[in-house]
């Protein structure tokens, strides 16, 4: 009996020791799991908060952009007593339940930065992200020729580049790198370079698009384009004018536009008539019954944009410069003749059989045809673009910095800055 009792006692002691060991092991494992779990939880919180901070910072950036584009910065705090969008400005905001953002926009309205803090800017251990960018209006003329769809460069046509701010085209001011041609098109052969055509730059299409090339392309060929072509918006200060109806300039007659804004349905030009532009002129053509804005079909019409002058044409109808029309831009700068078309039918913008001219031409919803000319200095954007029969395009790289007139400022050079 005593032996059995002793055995039970020893057995209990042994069991106790084993139980203690098991509890010890399980406690150690449990602690390790708890520690790891807490660590993972903290890491998850940091990752989640960091992601939230990024988007909160982005929200601040977009709010400040809206203030600049549409609210004359009225909702921003001015640091130096200025008003409107002048001077250095800040914008502080709170995203309820998420966190805070603080935005700065400098006096040039160029450099913008936004820092977001999660859960708040005053929290002791907040998670912050900062994004910065450059506020501006990107040019719609980033290529020598660009189209939403088909682009054709053929029959000895040439696309190269120069910089009009460095002087006239020629000599050292000929750029054999940036004369690029592009399309957003996504179909096979959407860009055609053929019959000895030369492209002194890159050629690009949209995803799935391809280039038919039997000519010469100096640069690369890529297929990733997705470039927004904003619709032409006629300024309210022009569309609100009373229309002068159809302006007719008789054979051998002359007409002068002095600086100012004008609105007509169309301009009918007689044989050998001359139109002179003196000063900064904006012209809005709503199109006549046959959707014509300007047609120089009578022949030998002369458009003369005098030194120091500029002409911006907005047209809802077709615009045709042909039959030996002469378009003189005295400054020899394409920015001084800008043509914007809202026309949605075919063949909306045509320049053919003319002497050379300087122009920036934009008609994203119609066909742009540049053919049989001595040359076009500037850039061409259309729904489709055709460059044919020795029609050279000398892309003016200065147009790449010309502000887009149809959209508010956007943020480029966006950077996620380490804090």
């Amino acid at each position: 009996m005593n032996s059995l009792h002793l055995f039970r006692r020893k057995w209990c002691q042994g069991s106790l020791a084993i139980t203690f060991m098991v509890v010890l092991v399980l406690t150690t494992l449990g602690t390790a799991f708890l520690y790891r779990g807490a660590n993972e939880s903290w890491l998850a919180y940091r990752v989640t908060s960091s992601s939230a901070a990024l988007w909160a910072a982005e929200a601040g950036l977009q709010k400040a952009r809206w203030e600049y584009n549409y609210n004359n910065c009225a909702g921003m705090t001015h640091l130096d007593g200025n008003t409107g969008c002048n001077g250095d400005k800040t914008l502080a905001g709170t995203l309820a339940g998420y966190g805070d953002y603080d935005v700065t926009l400098d006096s040039t309205n160029t450099n913008i930065g936004s820092t977001a803090s999660i859960p708040s800017r005053t929290a002791a251990k907040n998670i912050q992200r900062k994004v910065v960018g450059v506020l501006g209006k990107p040019s719609i003329f980033g290529f020598g020729m660009f189209a939403q769809g088909k682009v054709t460069v053929s029959n000895n046509a040439l696309v190269d580049a120069y910089n009009s701010t460095a002087g006239a085209y020629g000599g050292a001011n000929v750029d054999h790198v940036n004369g690029s041609v592009g399309s957003n098109g996504t179909t096979a052969g959407v860009v055609e370079i053929d019959n000895n055509a030369d492209v002194w730059g890159n050629v690009s299409t949209g995803p799935g698009g391809s280039v038919t090339n039997t000519g010469h392309v100096a640069g690369s060929v890529t297929n990733t384009n997705s470039i927004a072509l904003p619709a032409v918006v006629v300024p309210g200060s022009l569309s609100g004018l009373a229309s002068g109806g159809a302006l007719s300039v008789g054979n051998n007659n002359a007409y002068t536009f002095n600086a100012g804004d004008y609105k007509y349905s169309s301009i009918n030009l007689g044989n050998k008539s001359t139109v002179t532009v003196n000063g900064a002129v904006r012209l809005y053509l709503t199109g006549d019954a046959s959707h014509t804005g300007i047609d120089t079909g009578s022949g030998q019409v002369k458009f003369d944009i005098t030194a120091g002058s500029s002409l911006i044409i907005y047209t809802d109808g077709t615009l045709t410069f042909n039959n030996n029309a002469t378009v003189i831009v005295a400054s020899q700068k394409p920015k001084d003749l800008q043509i914007y078309s809202t026309y949605t039918g075919p063949s909306g913008l045509t320049l053919e059989n003319n002497s050379s001219t300087y122009a920036a031409i934009y008609g994203p919803q119609t066909d742009v045809n540049v053919s049989n000319n001595a040359g076009l200095y500037g850039a061409v954007v259309g729904k489709t673009t055709l460059l044919n029969n020795n029609g050279d395009v000398h892309y003016d790289t200065a147009l790449a910095t010309m502000a887009n007139p149809f959209e508010g400022s956007i943020i480029s050079n966006w950077q996620d800055v380490a804090l």
Binding site: S3, V22, T224, W414
Partner: protein
Amino acid sequence: MKNTRAYTMVEIVISIALFTVVMAGIYGALTTSQIIYNKNSAFMEMEAQCRNAVDRIVREVRQASSQTITTNFNSTTNDKIMFTIPSAIGIQYYLSGTNLVRRAPDGTTKTIASNVDRLKFSLTGSLLTINVRASQTVYQQAITYPLIAKVRLRNE
């Protein structure tokens, strides 16, 4: 008195047998736990590495534009991506063996994830899709962790 101070042979044998059975059970449980723990740890480590690597790529490539990205999209092998951001030209990500490597513009390289056996990119407009898969064999059992991330390029 003697009987109270000693075990019989039978008692000792039974005790040892019981102790052995209990210890074997504990050892088995611990070994199984250890295997599960190691597998989970390996999986979590793989997941963490993949997520960190993809997060890093996303954070950088978001600052690029589709115009500045070059890669061997749609190739049958793993992809190599190269892109330019406002602060750096020519950042690269690619696989070297099973290491996911970042190559800085100055040529220095850094492994940002191991055990990666798939790295693919596809670009639709300004939407870049990153497809990464890590694989590892733990205790003769293959474990894989696939991760797909989509990033809208911010500088279009």
